[in-house]
Amino acid sequence: MALLEVKNVCKSFEAFELHDVSFEIEPGYIVGFIGRNGAGKTTTIKSILNLTKPDAGTVRFMGRNMCEHESDCKQQLGIVLGEFNYYSDKKLKSIAKVVSRFYSNWSYETYCNYSKLFSLDENKRVKELSAGMKVKFALALALSHDAKLLILDEPTSGLDPVSRNELMDVFRSIVSDGEHSILFSTQITSDLDKVADYVIYIKQGKIIMSGDRESIINGFRLIQGSSDELTPTLKDILIGYNENAFGFTGLIHEEDIQHAEGLRIAKADIESIMLFNEETRKERTMI
């Protein structure tokens, strides 16, 4: 049974619409949720958490309807919505004490371990923390009640590369038992390359790509060549490309690779797939 099942979730705002968002998260996996700013990642996460009421669709967690069993479902969820910007004048230990009362599985020992790992000073006030430390505090709170699913919105923003790396190790160890999963949205696609098993890609409120990371990456190729080799036929086939004085780089579907004979072909990564898919025009001019 899927841990989280999001089915046909729709939500309309004046300037933005979430169309039929559907995906599932199985136990034991890390799922990366990517898309540009304003693509609908946070709206999707807020709809899952019932912070925003979807116009249509259902969200089921461990087989239970999230709206109807919100409190019970959230007992099993660890949630981080960006950096911890709540109760700025309060000390971390006061906030942790309050949060601990809400979770039946809260482990003070686990919380202390994460506090130590993230070098959090319990006596500091939230406003005294840097952006990175605020994220770490939010993570320490989310990780301390043995949540079956962690839903993390931009958990790595503001973190230095070493901390990000440490966090990726933490993520891997959490899912290693095959019972826990993580859904995390991010702009830092290199984090996905490191840990994500699955990737969900949202663009203008629609899921345009969803699947295991390897399949997604293997579905595309990066090709490079001289400007002369960028023929009109090739331009039509390419998903996107950029041209500069030394030639061009473009993204192509794996099944179209026969059209790129004689060109340099390289494995794509999440970033290049996202970059070339986000082009409104096919051509990117290098400045």
Binding site: L51, S71, K74, L77, I79, Y86, Y87, S88, V98
Partner: protein, 219 residues
């Protein structure tokens, strides 16, 4: 129920501004002023409630509650409990000083205002009921407004208080509502009970309407 208890604890620990305690003392202290409109002292806790709701917005408390394992309805109920708690403490804190005032100023033969008695508590309860309906409901509507509804709520409290004072002091036959002799206090009890029922009913209805609005709101 456990979630509501924890939310009340959260409000007390993280949200309620320490300055609120001062308002309890202000209310108690003002009860000692002789021949004074006694509904004004308990008014100040409404400022405390407004500050608490402003702090809530500043601390992004609604979003924080959204990630906790609680429902929106429980969040509203906990807030209503806190508001009622603050108001009841204000009234109870004023009781000893009101008794002291009654003893101290018993020699004022013709008080121009309502003496410390059950009618004062009744008018305060009615004022609170009206103010809560406006302030708490607006805090859970689409835009989570605090300041303007609070000011309106406070104005309504003043108007109701002023009207009660005028009604009791100006109309003939209302003398028993003005004084605090044992016999008159007994006659005032039904008015106190009715106002308490109105206060509780208004609290219940406010809570229901706030929950309904909050369920639709975007956090």
């Amino acid at each position: 129920m456990k979630n509501i208890r924890n939310l009340v604890y959260k409000e007390l620990k993280l949200l309620i501004h320490p300055v609120t305690i001062i308002y309890f003392f202000v209310s108690a202290g003002m009860a000692l002023i002789p021949d004074y409109p006694r509904f004004i002292g308990p008014f100040y806790i409404l400022v405390g409630i407004m500050i608490t709701m402003s702090t809530e917005a500043q601390y992004r408390d609604k979003e924080f509650c959204g990630i906790l394992p609680v429902t929106k309805a429980e969040t509203v109920k906990a807030r209503m409990i806190i508001v009622i708690l603050m108001e009841m403490i204000t009234i109870l804190a004023s009781v000893p000083t009101a008794i002291a005032a009654a003893a101290l100023y018993s020699d004022i033969a013709e008080p121009s205002m309502i003496a410390p008695n059950f009618i004062v508590i009744a008018e305060v309860l009615l004022g609170y009921a009206a103010a809560n309906t406006i302030m708490v409901s607006a805090n859970y509507r689409k835009r989570f407004k605090v300041i303007v509804p609070s000011i309106i709520g406070m104005l309504v409290y003043f108007m109701l208080g002023g009207f009660c004072e005028l009604f009791v002091t100006a109309l003939p036959g209302m003398e028993f509502m003005r004084t605090n002799t044992a016999a008159d206090l007994l006659r005032q009890i039904p008015y106190l009970i009715v106002s308490l029922l109105i206060y509780l009913l208004a609290g219940y209805l406010t809570c229901r309407s706030a929950i309904a609005s909050y369920e639709k709101a975007e956090i």
